[in-house]
Structure formats: C-alpha cells, structure tokens
C-alpha cells in the first residue's frame, strides 16, 4: 500500500499524479472464505479491519450490493459523541470516539476527525435533570462531559439565541472531545486498509440467499455466484430485516426513513455541533462551510430513500428559532436514509439462532459515530463468541426485558 503524505502528494504533482494506485483492489469472489461480511458500509468494513488487525483473520470477503460506503455511512450528519446514559452504550460509543481520535494515523487516511465539541442544549427543567444525570453517569463511565451554563453556551456558540423565547437555554451537556469526521473517508480509509491486508471487497455483489446446513450457515448465494464461509456477519443497516428473512429468523426491527439537510456554504460561523432535542434540530458546519442539519425520522416503515417533507419543515423552523440569523440562508439539498429502529432504540450486536451467523444492526439514527467501536467489538464477538463491548446488546434482551433505553435521558440518539 503506497503511503499517503504531503510529500507523496508533492512528488506526484510533478508527474501529473499518474503514480497513485487504486485505493482498494478490484476483487472477484473466491470459492470460500473464513469470514464473509455482508455489507461494505462503515460497520462492515470496520469489522473486517479489526478481524484482521486484532485477530489475524484476513481470509475475509466483504460483499456489497451497491458501492462501498453507499448506505447510511455516506448520508448521515457525521456527529461523533459518546455522552450516553446507560453503561453499555457509553462503553461502545466512547471506545468508538477514542478510536476515531487516532483513526487517520491508524489507517494512513485523513478521515478528518475534528473534536470540535458536541453541545446538547437543555431547554426545559426536565432536560436539565436528564443531562445532569447523564453528566453524573458519564463521570463514572470515563466519558468526559460537563453541564455548562447558558453564558458558556453563548461563548462557544455566539449565533445562538439564549432567551428562546419559547424554550430559553437553561444550560447544556458539553462533550469537548466529541465532534465530526468526513463520512466517506471513514469507509474509504477502512476499505483501503482491508484491501491492503488482502481482504476482498466485492461491490455490485448482492446476496440473494443464505445457505444452511441445519442451524449452521455454510455460505451465501450472490449475484456473482455461491460463496462458502465458516462464519457470516450481517452488517446491512436499512436492510437487516430482509437479510434476516433469508436466514430464516425475524428481528425486532422496523426500517424507517431519516432525513438530513445541508445549506449553501458560508464562511465559518459555528465551530461545534449543537443539538436541540426539545425543538428537534441539530446542526454543525462542515469544513466546506455548509450547515449540516439532521431532520426527523418518519414513523412508518419505508425503504424509499426519501422522507416526508414536513420533517424538513419542523427541523428548519426549530433551527431558525434557535439561530435566527440563519433565516435568509438557503437550503441546498435534503435526502433520506433508511435506518433500522429496534424495540429499545439501541443496536443489536449479537449471535443469532444460526450458530455461526452474527448480526450487527439497529443503530437507528446514530450509527456513524459508532463505526470504529462497533467494528472493534463485533470483530471480537465473531472471533471469540463473546465480547465485553457487545454482550449487553444481544438479541435475547428483548425476551428477558433487559432493555438498553437511551430515550430515558432527555437526549435522543443521533
């Protein structure tokens, strides 16, 4: 793998950049792999990467029905935070955040992780209580957060209107080391590193069936032929239900459309991520200058990658109320992604009724931030059969009533 660096770029500049090699090999499926990961989004690629890096398992294929990183990895608002309330959530998201800090160096690919800070506004007494509780929990979970005053809020985000009028800002939960990253780069960086380890990333390869022998998976049928494997990992956000159906089991999941928006680019006006959950709006400014905005999710099952417009309206009106100076800014485009919502709105990283088949899904609206941690833990689960980071997220929790409910904190997952 040719190393990336400023020097390399300078050297290539002199020869018209003819020397750059492919970021990842063009691969055709082999007859058999130790591990097949279905889904070349961030979570699938990260899983493959850590299977190789942590457990030396490199005879791995990552199958993608479209193009790698083309699902939710490439259509989210790139927020990275770990200020969750419940222990299992805080553990996996904080592990993820920590991995993000060094990801560019690990992958030799600039994923532009920018720890610019994530601020969750408290705009009701109830939210204040919820965030204070979260701050207490985080302190014991090794997650650096702090409940800050309205004055501190205004200092960090000058464009905010504190006085409301409807929902005055009473404070905020502040995670200074949260931030954003370049979503495409995360997928591309992992893909490049996986390919360099000899793994096959096979695009335009849709899984059409799952081969079983009793309660064991033996391989998959794909649009590029049958492929055998010892272990199968399903990591297909937005389509988990469909894949599970092929494997013969059902999941506690409903797929809905979630929308995001970006504005025209303007010069920098906001350096951190602001989430206003009471009014349902959250926003950051990309390095390009666009205001990147998260919209609401539809309440009904939907596989069309377009949501309903009224969510865009609700979000925009909330943001104008919170940041009045945005009113004359223009929205450039909005789009939808399909997210898997579980029964308790927390993800599933679990064994399945099939012995050697594992599933990683249900990240809902907050999957991007979890990519490295999810890959780290899921790789361990697939390699060893259990993993501290993932054990609480098993499927059986729904039968036992052992939920991981984050909505109990005022903050909702994004």
């Amino acid at each position: 793998m040719k190393r990336y660096s400023a020097f390399a770029v300078a050297r290539e500049a002199l020869t018209g950049h003819r020397g750059w090699e492919r970021a990842w090999r063009r691969a055709q499926p082999k007859a058999r792999y130790d591990v097949i990961i279905v889904g070349a989004g961030g979570h699938g690629l990260a899983t493959a990467y850590y299977l190789g890096k942590r457990f030396g398992i490199t005879n791995v294929a990552v199958l993608e029905k479209g193009w790698l990183g083309g699902g939710n990895t490439g259509r989210n608002t790139t927020i990275i935070r770990s200020n969750y309330l419940q222990d299992p959530s805080a553990a996996i998201y904080e592990k993820s955040r920590a991995l993000y800090e060094t990801l560019s160096q690990d992958l030799n690919y600039n994923v532009m992780f920018s720890p610019r800070g994530v601020m969750m506004l408290a705009q009701t007494e109830h939210e204040v209580r919820g965030y204070r509780r979260t701050a207490h929990a985080n302190a014991l979970q090794g997650v650096e957060t702090r409940f800050i005053t309205p004055a501190e809020v205004k200092k960090i985000v000058p464009i905010i209107r504190l006085e409301g009028p409807r929902y005055p800002v009473l404070g905020a939960l502040w995670q200074a080391r949260g931030g954003t990253a370049r979503h495409d780069a995360v997928a591309w960086g992992y893909a490049r590193a996986c390919s360099a380890m000899g793994m096959d990333i096979i695009q335009q390869c849709e899984v059409t069936g799952i081969r079983r022998d009793g309660d064991r998976v033996t391989g998959v049928d794909t649009t590029k032929g049958a492929i055998a494997c010892d272990k199968l990992g399903l990591v297909v956000a937005g389509h988990s239900g469909v894949l599970a159906q092929m494997a013969g089991f059902r999941l506690p999941i409903e797929s809905v459309a979630l929308q995001a928006l970006v504005s025209e680019p303007i010069k920098p006006i906001m350096d951190c991520v602001v989430m206003a959950n009471t009014v349902h709006g959250y926003m950051s400014q990309s390095d390009k200058g666009e205001m990147v905005i998260g919209g609401g999710a539809d309440g009904y099952n939907n596989y069309t990658q377009r949501g309903s417009f009224h969510h865009v309206e609700e979000t925009v009106r909330a943001l104008i109320e919170t940041f009045p100076m945005l009113s004359r800014l223009k929205m450039l485009r909005w789009w939808g992604g399909i997210v898997d919502m579980t029964g308790d709105r927390s993800p599933i990283l679990s064994k399945t009724p099939l012995q050697n088949c594992f599933v990683n899904c249900g990240w809902g609206t907050g999957g991007f931030k979890a990519i490295p941690g999810s890959g780290w833990g899921f790789a361990e689960l697939m390699a060893k059969g259990h993993a501290p980071l993932t054990d609480s997220f098993s499927l059986d929790r729904f039968r036992e009533g052992r939920f991981i409910d984050e909505s109990v904190a005022a903050g909702v997952a994004h």
């Binding site: 469909v242 059902r250 999941l251 409903e254 797929s255 099952n301 729904f398």
Partner: protein, 109 residues
C-alpha cells in the same frame, strides 16, 4: 408525503393529519403466553420490503384508527380498511394480487 383515505370518515387525508401505528394484525398475547410468544407479540416485526399491512390513526381528523396496505418500497397504496378486523379483507388481497407483479426496487442513491 402520503395520502391515505380514512375509511371511517371518507376523508383523503394528508400524512400530516395522520399518526402511524406500526404493523397491523398482531394478536395480543396475555399473561398465559410463553416468553417467546410474548417477545414476538411486542417486538418481532415483518418489516417487509414490499406490501405492509399497517395501522394508522386519523389523529387530526375523526380520530379513528384504520389499517392500510402499502408498499414500503414504492408507497403504492392497495387500500385502507377499518381496524376492527384480524386480517386483511379479501378485496384488498385481490387488489394486491392483481396489481402486484414482482417486488419493485427503489432507486439506489
């Protein structure tokens, strides 16, 4: 932005008058049910990429619940019907059969 015709009041209601209620025709499981049956009742869903029988309430209208048969990949609607039933009416099934060829695909973005 869906339009569903409320079978209770007859209004062709815009989505913003409606409240979605998830998969329809799920039989309630009570105290005598097994853990597995109860989990299925509360959590396991078909979540099909195709025809979905679902619950809606005309919340900002007559206030009545009703059912709809809708394709989750194209938003084609095969009909709406009153909620006081344990399975889709025959005419809805027939309409699905006649209109449905294969499973439509949505655009890969």
């Amino acid at each position: 932005m869906l339009i569903l015709t409320c079978p209770c009041c007859g209004v062709a209601a815009d989505e913003i008058e409606l409240a979605p209620g998830g998969q329809a025709h799920i039989a309630r499981r009570g105290p005598d049910s097994t853990d597995a049956a109860f989990e299925e009742y509360l959590f396991l869903r078909d979540n099909p990429r195709g025809v979905h029988f679902e619950r809606w309430r005309h919340a900002m209208g007559c206030g009545k619940w009703f059912h709809a048969a809708r394709c989750t990949a194209t938003n084609e609607v095969f009909g709406t019907y009153p909620a006081q039933t344990t399975e889709p009416p025959q005419e809805i099934r027939d309409r699905i059969a006649e209109r449905r060829t294969d499973q439509p695909k949505d655009s890969r973005a």
